[in-house]
């Protein structure tokens, strides 16, 4: 009897996930793209794009607000996160417990965290609004800023810093000219990890302003789940969101490349 040859290469293990990706990532994206060009009657049309870009439904206003909130969140996270990450990295030996403290909130479900934040605000009689949203955003996304920064800062070879000090740089100059440039890749990934989810969030604004402040994510959610016959505009908005994310990623990778070139020189 001849032996049946059955080659089972290691590649095969990747196929289930490839199928999963195809079904649940690529296909939905294509459907969103198709929906963006379909009118109520199912015919091909640019009406959805016109409605969004003419700001008839306030879409651009919402987008602007979301971008600003995302930007400010990222900035605040960076300003708070960098010193934290820096000192955590500097006093490395004793900092494990502190790192844990910063990651700990991430173990609690984000919705539960946000709802509890609301309960605290209500108990303190603080009026829900832009301020509470900013607090919730920074609170939720800060760990995503600190972690990549911490990883990069810890991996910096300490001899660079010693060399800079030996050459007569003061503490500020060491930070500005040595540590900061060396941690740029951490900043870039931290900013990406904060900015992108921050512009598309909808649960935080829904809970922490009782839906009073309407962001881009809220608007898309509204078109998809609360309105009839309006998948089109929602799809256009999702599409715009996707493009913004892609642009952000490209910009980030560009800066990273430059950085690589610099350090190679």
């Amino acid at each position: 009897m001849r032996k049946v040859k059955f080659r089972f290469s290691r590649k095969a293990f990747a196929y289930p996930y490839m199928i999963f990706l195809l079904l649940f990532v690529v296909v939905p994206l294509v459907i969103v793209l198709i929906n963006a060009f379909l009118g109520d009657d199912g015919k091909l049309t640019f009406d959805n794009f016109i409605e969004f870009f003419s700001d008839a439904s306030g879409g651009l206003t919402v987008l602007g607000n979301s971008l600003i909130i995302g930007l400010v969140t990222t900035l605040i996270c960076l300003v708070i996160g960098y010193p934290v990450a820096y000192f955590l990295a500097k006093y490395h030996a004793s900092s494990k417990i502190f790192v844990l403290l910063f990651i700990l909130p991430m173990w609690v479900n984000f919705l539960i965290r946000t709802l509890s934040t609301k309960a605290i605000f209500m108990a303190l009689d603080i009026k829900l609004g832009m301020g509470t949203i900013m607090f919730g955003m920074v609170y939720n996304y800060l760990p995503y800023m600190i972690l990549p920064l911490h990883t990069t800062l810890v991996s910096i070879d300490h001899s660079y810093i010693e060399a800079a000090e030996d050459l007569g740089a003061d503490r500020f100059t060491v930070l500005w000219k040595t540590v900061l440039p060396l941690s740029l890749s951490g900043i870039v990934s931290g900013v990406t990890m904060t900015f992108i989810p921050a512009i598309s969030t909808f649960a935080i604004s829904e809970i922490l302003s009782s839906s009073k402040i309407f962001l881009f994510g809220d608007s898309i959610n509204m078109y998809f789940s609360k309105a009839t016959n309006s998948l089109g505009v929602g799809s256009v908005m999702s599409f715009v969101m996707l493009i913004i994310v892609i642009i952000a990623n490209v910009l980030m990778s560009l800066t990273e490349k430059k950085e690589e070139v610099k350090s190679a020189l």
Partner: protein
């Protein structure tokens, strides 16, 4: 790779065969089938045990029921319109019924013509219940959809009415859920004040353009539901005179329109005014809600909310506070013996925190009904008809009201009659009601049962069904129609102040656009950016200043090294 794929397919095939065999395992030669597609939490027993028993008793056959639920009408519409799986009977809302009917997806039922309905089956134990349905509802529905043009399969217009295609199931109103005690404190818990403000309460308008109460600002909740919020905004526009002198594109004056017509207006000039009003309203709002409204009110985060009657009755029931003094408007109750007496005025304590109010000027009434979609299996038709009729049995309707909280379409008279004729049922039901509300047994401190609930608290149960009456507006929450119960006085709500909201059709998109625009304007994140830039500028400025001062110091002390130090300044 091909081999692997083939193996994979084989395994799949094998699995499906095994599954199919196990599915056929029922012994049922005499088993009928039925596929029910209903809103979630919208029947008292999802196992439908009672119906199975009834079916066996009437037909002598067993029935296998597939019970599936959906969250929103939109999900249901998509599934029925696709039509790729068997669905025998569905329970959509009025506008979804209209959409299905216009799309030609419904099968004629003729429930209100007994002979036509029972054509095709003849069972000795069958009793037709169409007479038990509240005629007010039937009239209202027929009136609201009288313009509907129903086409038959060939596309010809027919004389059919919407009631030929569906059987009403549950209905309710849209109203204002408010904190009665807060209203008392603010001094606006007054018949004249509230009946003048009407829907203006949700806009903090006292009915003449002035603010109703400063205490309401920032404490009003609106529903994050386009249709409901739009409807009440329309009512408010009319009340506040914002529609005065305007005419619709077809030449009608808005202010002369009856409520049933006004509620279905969706032309662009009205939408524009709506948008402005809704944007302006934001200053008065605590926020928008879908699920958290009841909790926010019960916890005291907000004072007013737009609510559906069933939700509102549930919230009001939940808000009973036995230590709350109805006169002193505060928790001044003290336990004296078995009673709780107010320590301030000596009155007997106990009051509801919340209350519900349907303004008199205009209101929205909605309903859901059972229909047969064209995805039904013709061999299930008898089972479908028996099922729909079964739900209109007053006894079943009572169970549904108890479980769901909304009003069943079966008339209150029919329900009252069934209960009053049947002492045993009365006992069972009041026990079931009290079990639900935790008061069905008295326990001592160790948790030992002292006394089990007895028939004497029937009164409370009776109130639950027939006497949800509010002194503010003389309306009955459960039965918003004109009825006289127990000689308690006539509820003076007339039918013509309630309107049914139809599907907006081609105006759907315009309404959604209006809503999105209203929601997004009025929020401005630019100041936030301004503050942040300012803050960053200040921080950078301070750092630069510090460095500059250091630099100055160094240049003064170490004159020979100044040039090299200068290049290390933070400016580059």
């Amino acid at each position: 790779m091909k081999k692997l794929f083939a193996t994979f397919l084989c395994v799949l095939l094998l699995l499906s065969v095994v599954l199919a065999v196990s599915a056929c395992d029922d012994k049922g030669v005499t088993t009928d089938e039925l596929v029910v597609y209903n809103s979630a939490d919208y029947i008292y027993d999802t196992e439908l045990t009672d119906f199975k028993e009834y079916y066996r008793a009437v037909t002598g056959k067993n029935i296998k029921i597939t019970y599936v639920t959906y969250d929103t009408n939109e999900t249901m519409l998509t599934k029925i319109e696709k039509g790729d799986s068997v669905v025998d009977v569905v329970c959509p809302s009025e506008y979804a019924i209209q959409k299905l009917l216009e799309g030609g997806h419904l099968v004629k039922l003729n429930y209100f013509d007994e002979d036509l309905y029972t054509d095709g089956f003849n069972f000795a134990g069958y009793e037709h219940f169409s007479g038990q349905i509240d005629t007010n509802i039937i009239d209202m529905v027929e009136d609201a959809f009288s313009n509907l043009q129903i086409k038959d399969e060939q596309g010809n217009l027919t004389e059919d009415k919407i009631t030929d295609y569906f059987v009403p199931y549950m209905y309710g109103t849209l109203g204002i859920l408010y904190n009665k005690q807060e209203f008392k404190r603010l001094g606006i818990y007054d018949k004249d004040v509230m009946n003048k403000a009407n829907w203006g309460i949700l806009f903090n308008d006292d009915g003449s353009g002035n603010i109703l109460s400063e205490g309401l600002t920032g404490n009003i909740l609106m529903k994050d539901s386009i249709r409901d919020s739009y409807a009440i905004t329309l009512f408010y526009l009319k009340e506040s005179g914002k529609l005065d002198g305007l005419t619709s594109p077809d030449g009608k004056t808005y202010t002369d329109m009856p409520v049933s017509e006004l509620i279905n207006v969706a032309d662009s000039q009205v939408l524009d005014i709506c948008r402005e009003v809704l944007t302006e309203q934001k200053k008065q709002l605590f926020g928008y809600e879908v699920d958290f409204g009841k909790d926010d009110l019960l916890m005291g985060n907000a004072i007013v909310d737009l609510a559906w009657s069933g939700d509102a009755m549930y919230a009001v029931d939940e808000s009973w506070d036995e230590y709350l003094c109805p006169k002193c408007v505060s928790q001044t109750g003290e336990k004296q013996g078995t009673d709780i007496i107010c320590s301030e005025c000596g009155a007997e304590c106990g009051d509801y925190e919340l209350s519900y109010y349907v303004p008199h000027s205009a209101g929205n009434i909605w309903f859901d009904g059972w229909v047969i979609p064209d995805t039904y299996d013709p061999s299930h038709l008898t089972a479908i008809k028996l099922f729909i009729n079964f739900l209109n049995n007053p006894e079943v309707a009572i169970q549904n009201i108890l479980e769901i909280g909304y009003s069943a379409a079966v008339s209150p008279e029919a329900i009252r009659q069934v209960i009053e004729d049947d002492d045993e049922l009365k006992g069972e039901l009041s026990e079931a009601y009290l079990v639900n509300s935790d008061y069905w047994e008295k326990v001592d401190e160790d948790g030992k049962q002292i006394e089990k609930f007895k028939f004497n608290s029937w009164q409370e149960f009776e109130e639950f069904f027939f006497d949800y009456r509010n002194e503010m507006d003389n309306s009955n929450w459960r039965y918003p129609f004109l009825i006289d119960v127990n000689g308690n006085g006539v509820y003076d709500r007339a039918l013509n102040t309630l309107g049914v909201m139809r599907d907006f059709g081609e105006n759907n998109k315009a309404v959604v656009t209006m809503w999105n625009k209203a929601r997004s304007t009025g929020v401005n994140a630019l100041p936030l950016l301004g503050y942040t830039v300012l803050a960053v500028a200040v921080v950078v400025g301070i750092i630069v200043l510090c460095e500059y001062l250091k630099y100055l110091k160094r240049t003064v002390v170490k004159i020979p090294k100044s040039e090299t130090d200068g290049s290390a300044s933070p400016k580059d």
